[in-house]
């Protein structure tokens, strides 16, 4: 099976799941380093056990023309027409914190899913998959360091 078709199938499943089970809110916090540049573009999204894109949680940074610098997210989510529906905000300044919430189906937790964050800042190096945190109960509340721009990223489940 071709990869895009797989992705679409996986997305369809993931979107279908919340209807069957209870969902709970997830809070994602990302504390940025003082990297000495303009506000960072961030894309937080969910991938499944196979690394396929599931859904976008949040995109910080409103100018679509720069979204290609969030390269993993941009590439993986290319087939998702609804990827930006109501999930965009301003870019995040160096040293600042991004805090977003999303509703998440219970079934996604401890099922091999992963939260990924891509990051990019102007005139600086793109950082695809800056942070990858497996979506498990054990990982909730555990800060995870990023590669270039993110000091630490944490998710909380309620």
């Amino acid at each position: 099976m071709s990869k895009p078709l797989l992705t679409i199938l996986a997305t369809a499943c993931a979107l279908a799941l919340p209807a069957l089970a209870h969902s709970r809110p997830l809070t994602l916090t990302a504390q940025l380093k003082n990297y000495g540049g303009d506000g960072a573009y961030l894309a937080a999204y969910l991938t499944d056990a196979k690394g396929a894109y599931v859904r976008t949680l949040w995109v910080a940074g409103g100018k679509a023309k720069y979204h290609k610098h969030l390269s993993d997210w941009s590439r993986l989510s290319a087939g998702d027409a609804k990827r930006l529906n109501g999930v965009t905000g301003a870019s995040v300044g160096a040293g600042r914190t991004l805090k977003v919430t999303a509703d998440l189906a219970d079934a996604l937790i401890d099922a091999g899913y992963e939260i990924r964050i891509d990051a990019a800042a102007e005139d600086m190096r793109d950082s695809p998959s800056e942070v990858r945190i497996p979506l498990s109960k054990a990982n909730a509340g555990k800060p995870q360091a990023g590669k270039q721009y993110i000091q630490s990223a944490t998710f909380q489940l309620q």
């Binding site: 000495g36 290319a78 590669k147």
Partner: protein, 735 residues
């Protein structure tokens, strides 16, 4: 709105923002210079494949290779978890040092691009760039007008220090600021989304997983065919993702390459908009060549200089502009005063007249003559008209006569008062022509036309008395003329001549006081001047200045004039009575039409008596040894050969090519200077045929005689004095 008004108001208002952009731009220009210092540009005419091979040896985990516009190569990698970026020497791949994005604070760049106001600020910055472009266009128009066309664009600039800074800097920087503005607009258009650089989405391509090992970068055909100088960015396939591809961004476009087969998976040509944008960035930032960055930096900093000098020029012009205090709107005024003035002094008289009427309870409106009309409320109209040159109207009122000739007369009396100088044959000619036209149209008048000589306050007061009588109401005209600010000049040397008819004369040299930059900027004291300009001397007890041609320029370091005793002359008596160390109060007035243009063409100087003074000044400063030929006319070489010893020395030094003299009161003296010209007809024709520039200084009668002589001498060439004047090759300074 005139170009001047556009230039002035854009400069004064949005110019402040332009200063911000200029200064921040100058600071940002430091980056490319520093970059060039850290990683000197290396030749880029070898394949990218070779570069990849060299980099792979020194930076094993390289993720991305960038070629900066400066030509420096930066390699991004990870050492363990730590992201690294290094300058690499493309010649052998060795690491030169760590790369820092920019040493300058980000807010400087953001201030420059968006005034720290986000997208709204970006529009503001783009608007400012557009304004700078408009300022450049209007500046060019004004510059051409001021200098007298393209060919004279490089000529010497006169005026106050602020004016010279503004014009001289403008000549140098105009083109660069124009480029900066155009490129800024190009960049803004894409940043603001007015132009989309590359509307296509990137293709979704993957390397085909075959299990075979990756093809080394050095063997990729695309990279072998691509020169380093065209490279922008090369992303190497990541170690963890077997489907990841090579991605190369070059001047020509961008492509994706399969990591195992080395096949080009997709290629997108760079669209035209992208290429234009790339050029704009290079031109605007100077990133590609540090010397250009230095030029841009200086141009940016000069914006502050422009703005400051522009504000000073505006402020001075505002202060000197006719400014009538207590003007009633025209529709409500019962007395209307219309003014035609070349130098501005007539406005002072208008103010005095207005004040006197207001004192008597009238409502008065004063305006320029071109606005001439009457309203239902008007009871009296006065026209105060100066005459310019040979009987012409002052420039601003050049069409006023035609305008008035078309109006229907009303019953309101119109009284004309002329201003002029009796030394000119067309004394008050314009005022008289106005009066004639008004009478011909049928306008009544209160008083016959009267002409004021040399701004005489007494004569004006007498006219006021006559007016008061005619009106049957008290009216006192006490006029104190407004003079330019004067400075005290101290007599440091004088050379006395006895004169032929017992009239004394002297060459007098004055020192001027040291002046601070501030005073010079604001145009106080003595502006920069050249030989041929005029010094206005105000004798004690008089408010009316007398003008003398300068025999020296700014570079000479002194003010020198040649003074002859006039019978009953207030000013000449004052000057000739001065002792060493005594001071006079004086100001400088430029005489641009008489100054010599910068050229190596021959110069024919014709002067008589004290009229030799400005010509001597020209010769003294003839450091370039242009061929100058002097015809000097006097009465007796023993008594009035002014500058005689100096002239002999200048001849020996080559500052003066030839000297012909004519002395009218000695036997075999050669008669008048025009006789000498007739005798030398052949040579004079030769000089004129070579393109000579002619300058004549002396009495009005002498100038007329010279013109007649030259007309007859030049007739065989089909040249005439008027034709030379039209070509700006002939100018007179007469008294």
């Amino acid at each position: 709105m005139s170009w001047k008004a556009i230039h002035r108001w854009l400069g004064l208002t949005i110019g402040t923002l332009a200063v911000v952009l200029g200064i921040t731009g100058a600071i940002l220009a430091i980056d490319p210079v520093q970059q060039a210092w850290q990683a000197p540009a290396a030749p880029g005419n070898f394949p990218v494949a070779t570069l990849v091979e060299r980099v792979a040896r020194s930076v094993p985990n390289a993720e991305e290779i960038r070629r900066l516009p400066s030509g420096a190569i930066v390699v991004f990698s990870f050492a363990g978890d730590q992201p690294q970026a290094s300058y690499v020497d493309p010649a052998d791949g060795h690491v030169l040092g760590a790369w820092q994005a920019s040493a300058l604070p980000r807010w400087v760049k953001n201030l420059h691009r968006s005034l720290l106001l986000g997208d709204a600020g970006r529009w503001g910055a783009a608007g400012t760039a557009l304004t700078v472009g408009l300022l450049c266009v209007s500046a060019l128009v004004l510059l051409l007008r001021r200098m007298g066309g393209w060919r004279r664009l490089a000529a010497r600039v006169r005026g106050s220090l602020a004016q010279r800074i503004h014009v001289v800097t403008g000549r140098v920087v105009l083109a660069i600021l124009c480029i900066t503005s155009l490129t800024a607009l190009t960049m803004s258009a894409s940043t603001l989304g007015l132009v989309t650089l590359d509307p296509r989405t990137e293709p979704e391509v993957f390397s085909v997983v075959t299990g075979k090992p990756d093809m080394p970068g050095a063997q990729l055909t695309t990279l072998q065919n691509l020169q380093v100088q065209d490279l922008r960015k090369l992303s190497l396939p990541g170690a963890t993702d077997p489907e990841d591809t090579w991605k190369v961004v070059a001047a020509q476009g961008q492509g994706w390459i399969d990591r195992t087969s080395g096949q080009m998976l997709a290629w997108q040509d760079a669209p035209l908009a992208q290429r234009i944008y790339d050029w704009a960035v290079v031109l605007h930032t100077g990133e590609a060549a540090w010397p250009w960055a230095v030029v841009l930096g200086l141009a940016g900093a000069s914006v502050l200089l422009f703005w400051l000098s522009g504000v000073v020029i505006w402020w001075r012009a505002r202060r000197q502009a006719p400014h009538i205090i207590g003007n009633t709107p025209m529709a409500q005024a019962d007395v209307l005063i219309f003014v035609a003035s070349e130098g501005g002094s007539t406005w002072g008289f208008a103010q005095t007249l207005q004040d006197a009427f207001v004192q008597g309870g009238h409502r008065v409106h004063t305006s320029a003559l071109e606005n001439f009309r009457t309203t239902a409320a008007t009871r009296q109209v006065f026209v105060l008209a100066a005459t310019y040159g040979e009987g012409q109207a002052p420039a601003h009122a050049s069409h006023a006569l035609e305008h008035i000739a078309k109006l229907n007369a009303s019953a309101v009396p119109v009284t004309v008062l002329g201003f002029g100088d009796r030394q000119f044959p067309a004394f008050c000619a314009f005022a008289k022509a106005l009066d004639q036209t008004l009478r011909a149209q049928g306008w009544p008048t209160l008083l016959p036309v009267e002409c004021i000589h040399q701004q005489s306050g007494q004569q004006f007061a007498r006219w006021g008395d006559a007016l008061a009588q005619a009106l049957g109401e008290p009216l006192v005209l006490e006029h104190v003329p407004r003079l330019p600010a004067t400075v005290a000049l101290t007599l440091v040397a004088r050379q006395d001549y006895s004169g032929v008819t017992g009239q004394a004369s002297a060459i007098m040299r004055f020192a001027w006081p040291a002046q601070g930059l501030d005073a010079r900027l604001r145009g106080h004291g003595l502006a920069r001047f050249a030989a041929g300009d005029l010094v206005g001397v105000v004798p004690p007890g008089s408010a009316v200045p007398r003008y003398y041609s300068l025999a020296s320029g700014w570079e000479d370091g002194f003010v020198e004039i040649c003074v002859r005793q006039m019978s009953g002359g207030l000013c000449s008596t004052h000057l000739l009575g001065l002792q060493m160390g005594d001071s006079i109060s004086a100001f400088i007035r430029s005489n641009p039409g008489f100054a010599l243009p910068r050229s190596r063409r021959p110069v024919l100087l014709i002067g008589a008596g004290t009229g030799v003074a400005p010509l001597a000044g020209f010769i003294r400063r003839n450091d370039r040894r242009s061929p100058m030929h002097l015809y000097f006319g006097g009465r007796d070489p023993a008594r009035d050969f002014y500058f005689g010893p100096d002239i002999q020395r200048w001849l020996a030094e080559g500052r003066l090519a030839t000297l012909q003299t004519a002395f009218s009161r000695v036997p075999d003296g050669g008669g008048y200077v025009q006789d000498a010209l007739r005798r030398d007809a052949e040579r004079v024709r030769d000089l004129v045929a070579q393109g000579a520039i002619v300058r004549v200084c002396g009495s009005r009668a002498m100038a007329q005689g010279v013109a007649e002589a030259l007309d007859s001498v030049l007739a065989p060439l089909d040249w005439s004095v008027s034709a030379l004047k039209a070509k700006e090759r002939y100018a007179e300074d007469v008294f």
